[in-house]
C-alpha cells in the first residue's frame, strides 16, 4: 500500500509537529503580538504599538548596561571556550589507550554545565570566604569574594562557561579524525614543523567544524541565563555587573510584571542573533574550506 506511507509518516510525525506548533511556534507568535502591548500577566494586553521598542532604545539605562555585559561575556567566553576545546581535542587526538577515559572526563562538565547544582557550587567556591579567596589569601593576594566584587563577578561566570568546553571538544575531536593522515605524512616528509602543519593542514581542514562550533557557541552564550541567575541570586549584581540580557528580560517580565516589554526584548534578541549568524555565514566564505571544492 504505497499510497499509505506518507500519511503514516505524518501520523508518526504528529507528536513532534504538535509539540512544535503548540510549544514553540504558538508562543512565539503570541510573544510577537505581546511585544506591541502593555501586558502585566494578569489583565488583558493593551495595544501600544512600538512604544516598548521606543522605550528600550531611548529611556532604559539598564537595557544598555545589560547589552554591554552580554557582549563582553560573549566576546570573552566564546573564543576562550573554543580555544580550550580545540587545544584539548588536539591533545586527545593522539592515539592512546586511555583516550576514552579522558574524553569522558573532559566532556562531563558540559553535561553538568547548564544545571543549577553546578552554578550553586560555583557560587560557593568563588564566594566571600570560599575556596578561591582562601587560596589567594594563602599566597598573600587579597582578592575578597569574587562573586561580591563587581569587577570579578562576570569573570566567575566566564570561567564556568570555559570549563564546559566538552561539547565543542567532542565535535572538534570528530572533525580531527576526519582529516586524512596522508596529508600529515606528506607534510612530515616535506619537513614541516608542528605550527606549520597546524596552520596549513589542521585549521583549513577543520574550518567547517570551527564554523559550526563558533555559530553554536555564540548563540548559546547570548542565551545564557542560569549561571548568572544562580550566581547573582537572581539580581544580576553586584552593581549590575552580571546583568545578562536574558536575566534583565526575566526581571522585567516576571518580577516587574512587564511582559509586553520583556517580549519586545526577546524579539530584539532573536533579530540580533539571526543577523549575527547571517554575518558569520557570509564571512565564512572567506575562511572556511570544504574539501572536494575548488578553493575560492
Amino acid at each position: 500500500m504505497p499510497d499509505e506511507r506518507p500519511r503514516v509518516a505524518y501520523l508518526f510525525l504528529s507528536p513532534w509537529v504538535a509539540g512544535a506548533l503548540l510549544l514553540t511556534v504558538g508562543p512565539m507568535l503570541a510573544s510577537l503580538y505581546l511585544s506591541f502591548t502593555d501586558y502585566d500577566l494578569f489583565t488583558t494586553p493593551k495595544w501600544i504599538g512600538l512604544e516598548n521598542y521606543r522605550r528600550l532604545f531611548t529611556s532604559d539605562d539598564r537595557f544598555v548596561s545589560s547589552v554591554w555585559v552580554t557582549l563582553r561575556y560573549v566576546l570573552i567566553s566564546t573564543p576562550l571556550k573554543l580555544a580550550a576545546a580545540l587545544g584539548v581535542a588536539l591533545l586527545l587526538n593522539r592515539a592512546s589507550r586511555a583516550q576514552g577515559v579522558y574524553r569522558s572526563a573532559f566532556y562531563a562538565p558540559s553535561l553538568l554545565g547548564t544545571s543549577v547544582a553546578v552554578a550553586l557550587v560555583w557560587r560557593v567556591i568563588f564566594d566571600r570566604d570560599g575556596v578561591v579567596e582562601r587560596s589567594f589569601d594563602a599566597v598573600g593576594l587579597h582578592t575578597g569574594g569574587w562573586t561580591t566584587n563587581p569587577r570579578l563577578a562576570l569573570l566567575v561566570i566566564v570561567l564556568l562557561a570555559v570549563w564546559q568546553f566538552g561539547a565543542p571538544m567532542v565535535i572538534f575531536l570528530a572533525g580531527l579524525k576526519q582529516i586524512p593522515p596522508e596529508l600529515y605524512d606528506a607534510s612530515a616528509v616535506d619537513g614541516a614543523g608542528w605550527w606549520r602543519t597546524f596552520r596549513s593542514i589542521t585549521v583549513p581542514m577543520l574550518s567547517p567544524v570551527i564554523l559550526f562550533n563558533l555559530v553554536l557557541e555564540t548563540i548559546h552564550a547570548f542565551q545564557s541565563f542560569t549561571p548568572a541567575f544562580i550566581i547573582s541570586n537572581g539580581r544580576g549584581g553586584p552593581s549590575d555587573s552580571t546583568l545578562f540580557y536574558t536575566l534583565y528580560l526575566y526581571q522585567r517580565g516576571f518580577t516587574e510584571f512587564r511582559m509586553g516589554y520583556a517580549s519586545a526584548m526577546a524579539w530584539l534578541l532573536l533579530l540580533v542573533l539571526a543577523g549575527l549568524t547571517a554575518v558569520v555565514f557570509r564571512t565564512a566564505r572567506l575562511w572556511v574550506f570544504y574539501s572536494g571544492q575548488e578553493q575560492r
Partner: protein
C-alpha cells in the same frame, strides 16, 4: 524483502495508546473526586517557622477530615520570584502569604480573591488598623497573619564590653554612629559595629517618617526627594568608610535570609530588623543572646509603626476559596494554633490570643513581646498599602546602592538615579 506490517494493527495500537493516555490524564485531573479538598499553602520563612506551621496544619487537618493542606516555603527573595511566575502562569497555591508592599500590586492585577460571602473570615478580634492594610478600594483582599514593628537588634554582651549604655527610647542617630564606631574600633571589626543599613528601603522609611515624610503619599506618588536619599546614603557611607558598618562584600549579599545576615554569623554586633525575626531558635541560630531596642531618632517621632508583618491571601483562581478561608480563619483565631505559632509571624493579631500567648512566652519571643509592650504607645498607624510598582522600587533601592558601595557613584548621583527609576516604576 519488504517487512509485512499490518497498518490496521498500527492504527489500532495508536488509537488504544491515545485513548489510554486520555483516560489516565483525565483520571489525574479528577483526583479529588473522592470528596477531599486539597489546599496548597505557600509562605516565606525559615525552617523554624516551617516546623510550627506544619504543626498547625496537622491540627487543622485533624479537625477537618475532608481537607488536606500541603505547605511549601522559601526565603523571601526566592519566594516572590517564584510567586510571580506561578501567579502569572495560573498555577499558584490556593493560600498565599503576602507582603504588605506587594498586596496592592497583586490585588490591582486581579490575582487575589476577596474575603466575602462564604469565603469570609471572622475578623471581630482584629484591629481595624491592621485590617486597613489589606483593604484595597473598600474590598478586603488580605488578612494580617501577625503584627510586627521595626527595631534595632543588638548583641548586649558586645555592647556592655565596649562600655556602652544599652540603646533605649530617646537615643539619637549620633549615638548610633558613636556606639557602632567604638565597637568596630575596639574589636578590630570582629564584629563590625552595625550591618550597613543603606540598601534597605524599610529602614529608610522609618527615618523618613521621623522627618514627617513617607515613602508614598496618599495619592500614590513618591513621598521623598533625591535630597532625602542622599542624606541617608551619606550617613551610611560615612559609617562604611570609617568601618563602623559592614564592608561592601557583606552588605551586597543582604537578602533577608539568615544565611546572608552578618548579625546571624557574628560578623556584626547590631543591625536593623523586624521584631518578628525573634523566633524560639533565634539565640541558637545566632549563637548568642540578642536584644531589641527602638530606632534612634533626632525628633519626637519614633517613625516606627504597627505593621501587618505578613498577610495572607487567597489566589483568585483557587478552586476552593471557601475551604481556604476556613483554614485562614483557623490560623488566625484558633487559640491552640496561636499558642503553637506564638510569635513566629509576629504578634498574634487576634487580641484574645495575643494576651494569652503573652503569658506563656520565653526566650527570644518574650524579648519581642516585651519590646512591643515598650514601644506600643509610640507606634503610629501603618501607611496605606503602597502603589503598584512599589516592589520594583524596593529592589531598585538596594540595587542602586550597590553603586555607592563599590564607589561607582556618589550618594548624590545614585540618589538621583533612584528617583528617576522609582518614578518610572510607579508611573508605568
Amino acid at each position: 524483502m519488504r517487512p509485512r506490517i499490518s497498518w490496521n494493527a498500527v492504527r489500532l495500537a495508536i488509537v488504544t495508546l491515545t485513548t489510554a493516555s486520555l483516560i489516565l490524564g483525565g483520571a489525574a485531573a479528577c483526583g479529588e473526586e473522592d470528596g477531599t479538598v486539597n489546599l496548597r499553602f505557600t509562605w516565606w520563612g525559615n525552617a523554624d517557622r516551617a516546623k510550627l506551621t506544619e504543626q498547625v496544619i496537622d491540627r487543622f487537618e485533624q479537625q477537618h477530615p475532608g481537607i488536606t493542606v500541603e505547605g511549601t516555603y522559601a526565603e523571601f527573595t526566592a519566594y516572590f520570584q517564584k510567586l510571580t511566575t506561578e501567579v502569572g502562569g495560573g498555577g499558584a497555591a490556593d493560600i498565599l502569604q503576602m507582603d504588605y508592599r506587594y498586596v496592592r500590586e497583586y490585588a490591582d492585577r486581579n490575582a487575589l480573591a476577596e474575603f466575602t460571602g462564604n469565603a469570609a473570615v471572622d475578623t471581630s478580634k482584629l484591629s481595624d488598623a491592621l485590617l486597613a492594610g489589606g483593604t484595597i478600594n473598600g474590598k478586603l483582599f488580605a488578612l494580617p497573619l501577625g503584627q510586627n514593628t521595626q527595631g534595632f537588634t543588638y548583641d548586649p554582651t558586645v555592647w556592655a564590653s565596649a562600655g556602652l549604655t544599652a540603646p533605649a527610647l530617646g537615643w539619637t542617630w549620633n549615638d548610633l554612629v558613636a556606639a557602632t564606631q567604638r565597637i568596630s574600633d575596639i574589636t578590630s571589626r570582629r564584629p563590625y559595629g552595625v550591618v550597613d543599613f543603606g540598601p534597605i528601603e524599610d529602614w529608610f522609611e522609618v527615618w523618613l517618617r521621623q522627618r514627617a515624610k513617607s515613602l508614598y503619599t496618599e495619592a500614590g506618588q513618591l513621598g521623598y526627594t533625591a535630597d532625602d536619599v542622599t542624606a541617608w546614603w551619606e550617613l551610611t557611607t560615612r559609617l562604611r568608610t570609617s568601618q563602623a558598618a559592614t564592608e561592601a562584600d557583606l552588605t551586597v549579599k543582604l537578602d533577608g535570609s539568615q544565611a546572608n545576615d552578618p548579625m546571624a554569623k557574628k560578623l556584626a554586633a547590631s543591625g536593623f530588623g523586624y521584631d518578628s525575626g525573634m523566633t524560639p531558635q533565634t539565640f541558637e541560630i545566632f549563637g548568642r543572646e540578642i536584644a531589641l531596642a527602638p530606632f534612634p531618632s533626632d525628633s519626637d517621632a519614633l517613625g516606627q509603626y504597627a505593621k501587618p508583618s505578613m498577610q495572607v491571601c487567597v489566589f483568585k483562581r483557587s478552586k476552593h476559596p471557601k475551604e481556604a478561608a476556613q483554614f485562614i480563619d483557623f490560623f488566625l483565631n484558633d487559640p491552640e494554633a496561636a499558642k503553637i505559632l506564638a510569635l513566629s509571624r509576629g504578634m498574634p493579631v487576634n487580641s484574645d490570643n495575643r494576651a494569652a500567648v503573652g503569658q506563656t512566652l520565653t526566650g527570644p519571643p518574650k524579648v519581642a513581646y516585651d519590646y512591643e509592650q515598650l514601644v506600643g504607645p509610640k507606634l503610629t498607624d501603618a501607611p496605606p498599602p503602597p502603589p503598584k510598582g512599589a516592589g520594583a522600587v524596593k529592589t531598585a533601592f538596594q540595587r542602586v546602592y550597590d553603586d555607592v558601595l563599590f564607589d561607582r557613584a556618589t550618594p548624590r548621583e545614585a540618589a538621583e538615579r533612584l528617583i528617576k527609576e522609582a518614578q518610572q516604576a510607579i508611573a508605568e
